[in-house]
């Protein structure tokens, strides 16, 4: 549905599109100067950068992925030491780290695709608290709980940006139309590239947490040490 609306709106955008870059070129070329500035010849369209916090939130989202990627990497390392020795947990965290790293680069590329500039300092308006130091020295259930929280934070942030992006859809017939095009484009990108994968991840991690919880509580916790071993072996196979 969004893809359809996007196509329709994009077609309609031509009506609003002025020949700004062309005007820049003709104006600059008619002057006796060797410099060409052409400020309107950029990749920005559909109001990207003028649509609320969208551009800055996308930067912050890339930075969040980068941060999570290295946090997951440390968790993966911790579960690979000779005392913890949980190869399945190591593999799980390594996969999460690799994925968030790839998504960091993809997000940076997407920001550039839209004519934006990546800012590595940028934080979301949702990040009001000073950053906490990440702790990886946790036992198995705690670390899964933390991974679940992290994946939820990534998913919720995607929803937040999605909501910001589609906020103006009620103004389809007025001047908000350009903002809406930009927003729908980002909304579609987030749906396809992030939200679906994250939903599955959140579900998987919630399932693992639920399994581990049962091992902890069932049979007065008698099964825990063997259960953790078997669960780790299981993770080695399914991740």
């Amino acid at each position: 549905m969004i893809a359809y609306m996007f196509a329709v709106l994009l077609a309609g955008a031509g009506v609003f599109g002025a020949d700004n870059c062309y005007n820049d070129v003709t104006l600059d070329c008619s002057q006796a100067s060797t410099s060409l500035i052409l400020p309107s010849c950029n990749a920005i369209f559909g109001g990207y950068g003028h649509h609320g916090n969208l551009a800055t939130e996308m930067q912050a989202y890339a930075n969040l992925h980068l941060k999570k990627s290295y946090e997951y990497l440390l968790s993966s390392a911790y579960y690979d030491n000779y005392q913890t020795n949980r190869a399945g947990f190591t593999k799980l965290f390594r996969k999460l780290s690799d994925h968030t790293w790839e998504k960091t680069i993809e997000l940076i590329k997407h920001i550039n695709l839209r004519g934006g500039v990546m800012d590595f300092q940028r934080r979301s308006v949702l990040e009001t608290q000073p950053e906490n130091n990440y702790t990886v020295e946790l036992h198995e259930l705690e670390s899964l709980a933390k991974a679940l929280d992290s994946e939820k934070e990534l998913a919720e942030r995607a929803f937040f940006i999605h909501r910001e992006a589609t906020r103006n859809s009620q103004h389809l017939h007025d001047a908000g139309i350009l903002c809406t095009i930009s927003g729908l484009y980002i909304a579609q990108y987030l749906e396809e590239e992030f939200i679906e994968y994250q939903s599955k991840n959140v579900r998987d991690l919630a399932g693992y947490t639920s399994d581990l919880k049962k091992f902890v509580t069932d049979n007065n916790g008698q099964d825990l040490s063997l259960a953790l071993y078997i669960f780790d072996e299981y993770l080695k196979k399914v991740v």
Partner: protein
């Protein structure tokens, strides 16, 4: 690695990790263990009592293991320099990310350079991973794992042109090489323990890769500089497409 400072979890976490320095020995005995890890949980605040109920389930069924540690032989100065090297590789990965981001901008439009630097960023991350894996093989990273890596936004955000970026990358790689040499020195010159294997690993694998990488960057910078001499705009354009593997 006894004597290293206990790691403190965030306030919101349900337990404080590591041997609590201020807990009384008799008190510690009464407290349940967290999972299978040799970590100690105790009620730091009264409001955590509810969470303690959960830990009661754990009881003392999972005993922390006590494995002989004689085989863990990396000495402190060597280990510390390895840890610094890991941080350095991570910082290099972030600098390369910034370079990749710069060259993908619409106003810069050098996809070949962007690809080169994004790939370099992933490569630096892989280096950090390899060093981490080496430490793990030698029995390290049992504690103080959280403090291993800090993420800071790279300072430099823009480059004048492709040559400047290549020369900057070359300088960065040289710094990394020198830093690896310092790690080798620290691990070889320890009066009590010459860490032959680690030194061999760094010399054979890491230095080899560094020297090859530096040669590659230096060659690219030279070729590009020659191409720019009389035809700067066209030279950089063609060189960029070559980096993409495209014939123009």
């Amino acid at each position: 690695m006894a004597g290293e400072p206990a790691l403190r979890a965030r306030r919101s976490d349900s337990c404080i990790l590591g041997p609590p320095q201020d807990a009384q020995p008799h008190r510690r005995r009464l407290l349940p263990r967290c999972g299978s890890q040799p970590l100690q949980c105790y009620a730091a605040n009264s409001h955590l009592v509810i969470e303690m109920k959960f830990f009661r389930y754990l009881g003392s069924h999972v005993n922390p293991v006590n494995i002989p540690k004689e085989w863990v032989t990396i000495h402190r100065t060597c280990r510390d320099s390895m840890r610094r090297q890991i941080q350095m590789e991570v910082s290099a990965s972030l600098k390369y990310l910034a370079m990749g981001a710069h060259f993908s901008r619409d106003g810069i439009n050098r996809p070949g350079f962007a690809k080169l630097f994004f790939d370099a960023a992933s490569e630096e991350r892989e280096h950090a991973l390899k060093l981490i894996e080496y430490l793990l093989m030698r029995g390290e990273l049992v504690t103080n794992v959280s403090s291993l890596i800090q993420i800071r936004a790279p300072d430099k955000k823009a480059w004048e042109n492709g040559v400047e970026a290549l020369e900057h990358a070359l300088k960065m790689e040289h710094q990394v090489t020198e830093s690896i040499r310092q790690v080798i020195k620290a691990c070889e010159d320890d009066p009590e323990y010459n860490d032959y294997h680690l030194v061999d690993y760094l010399t054979g694998e890491f230095l080899e890769e560094q020297y090859k990488g530096q040669r590659d960057l230096a060659g690219k910078a030279s070729t590009l500089k020659k191409m720019l001499e009389k035809h700067s705009a066209l030279g950089e354009f063609i060189f960029d497409k070559k980096l993409l593997g495209m014939d123009v």
